[in-house]
Subunit: 505 residues, 4 copies
């Protein structure tokens, strides 16, 4: 698979393909032309000798220092050096690929004036599988200079890289890959580091999984509702139309499809008019997640397909202009909102599990015990999902506005986008575990309900149930739970649930 980068249309799915599945990349001819034109302009401006930030001046507080032409290489190398101070843990190779893909794509818009050879090198390294070692910590947003510098370090033949499954020096990796390290010229250092590609790349990975999770959430809610034998009135089309909220209407519509033909539409004597809110509101809160996700995705797409470089080279105007285009505060706060909504989604899932083990509500055995209540079964696992849910809640505490004024009163704003995104990544992981556990509960309830008498599932949920049961049989108290939990998590993470109902992202 080969993905052509243009600077204008990189999607989260593309990033996932490149990062996780190792897709190759190619630069579009139009983009190549833009790179060349921009570089030409840079040299003309060097000759014109106008002071431009980070170009022929120092950076940060040192912006009043002038850099003479002959020191460009030295200046740019040292600029890479002194931004290379990242702290463990190291990003995975997939994460490094994601950030390289995003950085390359944004460079293609021609606003940086980077050497075309350096830009091309991102593609070459991606296609060769030569992955710089990048520590994750050290950026406050406002450009992820730290992690990106570690990529630059490897590009110039220093630092360490992973290549074909082995960690080695950059020099060795280059040799094995048949590449010479690059030599930096004016503005190259800044073009390498001055970007939020670390945040955007990691965000793309998280959002890709979240798009799957929100869709799987609708399926899982349906399975739990059938396990609970609850009410479908809250997802009726008429009710949704009256409310005018698009997100929840979409989730409700999907749920109606999955449940088509289910015995849940039947009734029985004494059936309560209304279920607990965790069931009744499932489509509504999944809908809130859709609303928030749409907002976050909009700004992530812009982030991956516009320039975040400072200064910005305007080809038409033949100027380099200082700016704050590295600001990612809308994206950071969008993700913070998304994290808060996810804490609602997670808690709803937990409550559904708590209700599913309550015989008073389900008419099923207490704790979904296969033997009618003698065994411990689902009584204790609650501590597991509850602790993961609490961690989600903690991770959803915002941190974007917590910053120090740096660099001699100059860098007096930050948004901590990298930390915000890493929190989201952990939230996604925890939710994958929690949804895995909800699947265990829902399918256990369904199986016990089927044993009580015929109970047909919906068209979609039947397929989902079968797929999950292939992975995991009924839990009967005769084995430790941990391996089941792990398997269910992997089932969710792989998005097998979507494929089971004939969907794929």
């Amino acid at each position: 698979m080969k993905i052509v980068l243009t600077g204008n249309d990189l999607t989260v799915s593309d990033v996932w393909e490149i990062a996780v599945n190792g897709a190759q990349v190619e630069i579009s001819p139009e983009a190549e032309a833009k790179l060349e034109a921009a570089r030409k302009l840079v040299y003309e401006l060097v000759d014109a000798d106008v002071p431009v930030y980070g170009f022929n001046t120092g950076v940060g507080w040192n912006k009043d220092h002038k850099i003479a032409k002959e020191f460009f290489e030295d200046f740019n190398r040292k600029l890479i050096y002194c931004h290379s101070f990242g702290v463990e843990p190291e990003a995975s190779e997939a994460e490094v690929r994601a950030m390289m893909a995003v950085r390359l794509n944004c460079l293609l818009l021609g606003y940086t004036g980077i050497q075309p050879a350096v830009a091309r090198r991102y593609a070459e390294l991606l296609n060769a599988g030569l992955h710089p070692v990048v520590p994750e910590k050290g950026s406050v947003g406002e450009g992820d200079l730290t992690p990106l510098a570690h990529i630059g370090l490897v590009m110039i033949g220093e630092g360490e890289a992973n290549y074909k499954g082995r960690r080695m020096s950059s020099a060795e990796a280059h040799k094995l890959a048949g590449l010479d390290p690059v030599v930096l010229g004016p503005k190259d250092g800044l073009a390498i580091v001055s970007s939020s590609a670390f945040s955007a790349g990691e965000a793309a990975l998280a959002i890709k999984e979240l798009r799957e999770l929100v869709d799987m959430g609708d399926i899982i809610s349906c399975l739990s509702l059938e396990g609970f034998n609850g009410n479908t009135s809250p997802i009726e089309a008429g009710v949704m139309a009256a409310r005018k909220m698009e997100g929840q209407a979409k989730s409700a519509e999907r749920m109606r499809e999955y449940l088509a033909g289910s015995d849940i539409y039947g009734t029985y004597p004494g059936k309560p008019v209304q279920d607990p809110l965790c069931f009744r509101g499932a489509a509504y809160i999944n809908g809130s997640l859709r609303d928030a996700l749409e907002y976050a995705q909009k700004y992530l797409f812009i982030q991956m397909n516009s320039t975040d470089d400072n200064p910005c080279l305007l080809l038409d105007e033949r100027r380099i202009i200082s700016n704050s285009n590295f600001e990612t505060t809308t994206l950071a706060t969008a993700i913070e909102m998304l994290s808060i909504v996810l804490s609602h989604v997670s808690r709803m899932s937990c409550y559904r599990m708590l209700r599913l083990v309550n015989p008073e509500l389900t008419k099923l055995p207490r704790f979904l015990s296969h033997d009618g209540g003698q065994s411990h079964c689902f009584g204790t696992i609650q501590k597991c999902f509850a602790s993961l849910d609490t961690e989600i809640r903690h991770l959803s505490n915002p941190c974007s506005v917590d910053y120090l004024s740096l660099s001699g009163s100059i860098e007096d704003h930050a948004n901590n986008t990298p930390l915000v995104v890493q929190h989201l990544r952990q939230i996604v992981k925890n939710l994958q575990y929690i949804y895995g556990m909800e699947l265990i509960h829902a399918c256990q309830a369904i199986e016990l309900r089927k044993r009580q008498g015929k109970f047909n599932l919906g068209k979609g949920t039947a397929a989902a149930y079968e797929a999950f049961r292939k992975e995991l049989p009924l839990y009967t108290n005769d084995r430790p739970l941990a391996p089941d939990v792990k398997k269910a998590y992997e089932f969710v993470k792989s998005a097998a649930l979507l494929r089971s109902v004939g969907e794929a992202r």
Copy 2:
């Protein structure tokens, strides 16, 4: 002024007019017709004797209790009683008007089946100025049943009300206003309490002021930039086009208009290439506020113009359907994001003030002292805006997901929208103070800069500067600061700054 309510097009400005400026309201004929049709259906359903939540059944855990026809009045009165447990402080009369206007508007969509006379009564009370006493605390979202019950209490002639500036019993107020209390029939109690009109009404008041604040923020940023004599490159159109972010592009465009003709476009020897981020990024963070505000407004508008009632009467289908349309989680989390963005906006303003008193950066006297640095002046006021900023930061901590499972495992979700909105209201107030203080700083800096030599302001900023200077002269250390701070706050709160540049919301 008279505002016609239709159920479909109530804006935050309308709510402000009704709530704060005492505008009268009128129900549109189409809405009247819908109310009648819905009520007719209710009685037909009563005769059909189908169990419907809160209608001929109990509510919450008591949903399994059946209510016989002859007890409808008693049941609905007691339903009002036992939701009337609000806790101080009391909402202002403007706040009560806001929630009544919103509740009325949503009723007009015909999804509740309320007695038309009861719906009309909201309009009659608003137009008579008879305002129920409503305690603010006691709702967890998922319908603001508590505060709304206190309105119902007054409607049936109990509890207390404010009427023509005096607090009195509901009975007395009705007498003086020439009205008889209403008598409740089936579904009326639930229609009165089952709504988020308290949250939505308060949110409308906050959002109205925020819309003004975001626009004033652009003006204030310009004044500070002139006081600082900083750079305009970050707000150039070319830079904004390259970034593709709409919010920041709009703020930048507005700033360019205000600054047209300013001496700030001139340069001087040794002028730094770049300013501190609080100046450089002003349009960008104001833009992030625009982005978040647009999202929040979208969902607030839906909230004020759709049904949030449970159960929901569907005229076409001739049914009453249980649902979760009272869910306001998208709105609650949108406001939580808005609050986080506001903490960025506030901190940017604070940093601009900190930079404006730094002679190294401004070439103006330290602490903007009129006498060249001997006086204390603006050294100490920093503690004031810093403490308000810290409070904003604290208020922006989310709380929507912190809830208990109530009502016997049934109400196991909440979003605390009222608390979220009240936090926003306090944030708005603090920001009005902080912006007032920034105006004091910016104008002090401009005046001192003018004294150093001719310095022409932009077209818009000149007007703004003059308007503010009419309120407050140069600060010369010869008086306590508190009254100045209060005046500047009131100047901002009144939106006089917008009017000074020929804008009004």
Copy 3:
């Protein structure tokens, strides 16, 4: 009542007496002597002309400015002026008295060198009932300069004051009280403002009420346990001895006393071995509150009885020494911990109420309905205590470390003690409401249980029950709940519950 202040032994009860009950104050002769000796030293140091911060130099960033002798009055007046920038709301008169009492007491240690006449003036104003108007906001901790400056402003005859129930100018109030405003000399301005007396005074009021609440918590837990007819094994002495935790052992001991003679020690067929943790752990969590309270009280006592002035005059060494004794970070973080523990205490109380209305657990009518379950009763009030509990949780978010670097890089630490303390004050108020509601629940349950058959309460709880029942009869669904909630709150706030069992704080 007259309280003699020595600088060494002011307690929270003393502060309460002075602040709330209007006790008079007197300065001890030893303290008078210290004040005189310190002032003498100040004048000798003035003559020696050594540069000392805020004494003959400016303050903050202006610390490099020298102040000549002849400008002392002017300098100190202006120092008061430009710290007088507090923001609404205004402190209550009780709060103003509390902070004045604490400030005076600390001055008596002789480390400030303030004019003895100025120190005495605090006592004179307190005894005359002349209370400066003090806005609450504007201090970041590190000395509550802002609110304290407003006291200084009134002392010099400016600003506004409350006197005998009326608000008036300071000048008028002085005239009516027969006092002349003071004239400030060297170091007086700083001695007036450089203190954390605002935080400490408010903290003293909060802690005084908390000491009562923790004791009442033991009684209320007992009443709820009897209403629940739960188990006493968790409070047995042997269990407590095995655990070695002092706080919980004390609460358990007290609970055993209150319950002496109760029918709760009896058993019945099918009685569960263990109760929900909100009952089982009541003494344990009340104990955690005791633990945290002891820690906070220790540091509050030091704060009220040591110097927090900078610079600090050392009589023995005959020097004035710059320092950071205004640091109150231990106290601020102790209160933040206390707030977190209170959020546990509050939640435990809420859960007890949720359990008390569950017939499956209590064998009492659902929602403690007097008529066997037909009425709404205690189903809806849950939203009220839950919303107050959520607010407590939000208020317990820490904010001490959220600060800006002020005053030209000099004031680069803060702890926001005033905001932290105000959060605690609101938490205390909410908990008083919540405990009020728990009393309503517990006594309702007890009364219904008594109706089921004889059920004798413990020695202490019987007295408490009777006292509360005198205030509030059984709730029978025939009235709005709000007035009951208010009464119960006032019962708790007045500590009547303690007096009912023969205890007083």
Copy 4:
């Protein structure tokens, strides 16, 4: 090294020795006797057939199920199974040793009635180096049942273990170690899982490092102060005596010792009276950390040397009593306070670094550049420590009170102690990095200051400086910073700084 466990006197240093340095353990004879006596009582109670929680009844909601004698083994094995649902990541072997040591020690008090052979097995596994694989997530506090169950799983010959550097099945590990798995009898399962040993063990490791960090903090503050050439007046003994705060007095005393003989006591023309608060308040905030640490240590010691088992076997009374002794809320909230104080400590360190690179304050080259300001040097590393500091701030958000009500309304309190402790562990690690960076800054400043002319360090600081300089030379912009940062971190983590001044913990 062999550590004798008695149940009464296990210290954090002991835990560190056992966990990290592989010390062997031995059970004291008195403890052995207690174990035997308790077990004897258990069997007598089994015969007496009294219902006791988790002993001859089910656990949690299943507490109403009775367990017959002949099913003890099966019941206890399944109890282990269904608590074994932990989620990644896995605890390190050191962490597993820590929790085993703590669990064993508490068992020795004889309150559980565990089989002596099972208790002894903890010692045997520790001494053999057979370490169960334990996933870290899955406990909400209130007993760390999940992680501890994984130890039990290995004890009965199931699950996985690490043995001599290799991961293998429990069965294989037992075989290689020459041990037979244990067979569980009555109450053994609960005795294995019902404990907070996971939290306590991890806390012990964190507190051990914190004790070192607080002492190193005093040294580092001194080095920075010398680098800054600041004032010592704030740490004078007279000032500390006036304040009466023990923690800060101790830090100040230590700082005076380290600085004895330093040229910092000299003065120079124009030396400011006062330094920024990050220097002036260093001893004070380090002191606040001492205060909080003392509180936390007190309760951790109790936790490690008392029983946290439910039910609790009282030998004297010959009874098993249900209780809540697993409550660790005082400890959890103490650690939450500690984390908040650490966020202050961290921020102070960051500000000291920000001040040390400011030439206006230090008269040293901007950004401590060795070549007079041309190089980037310490301008960019600020993003690194700032981002770690922001993460600390986020980690210090409390989460103890965020929980769900589990197990059918029975487990309706939690404190999330494991998550709280893991946050502390990460905070400690980040602070070790930050302190490493402060050392880099301080020593760079000192070296540059020495180059400006003779500057003698204090007795203690000279030794510390030399020791650090042996690890890391002056930074001259000619290399990436990351390896330096890592080295400095390891220097701090190893506590080499303490040894350099002749101290060891």
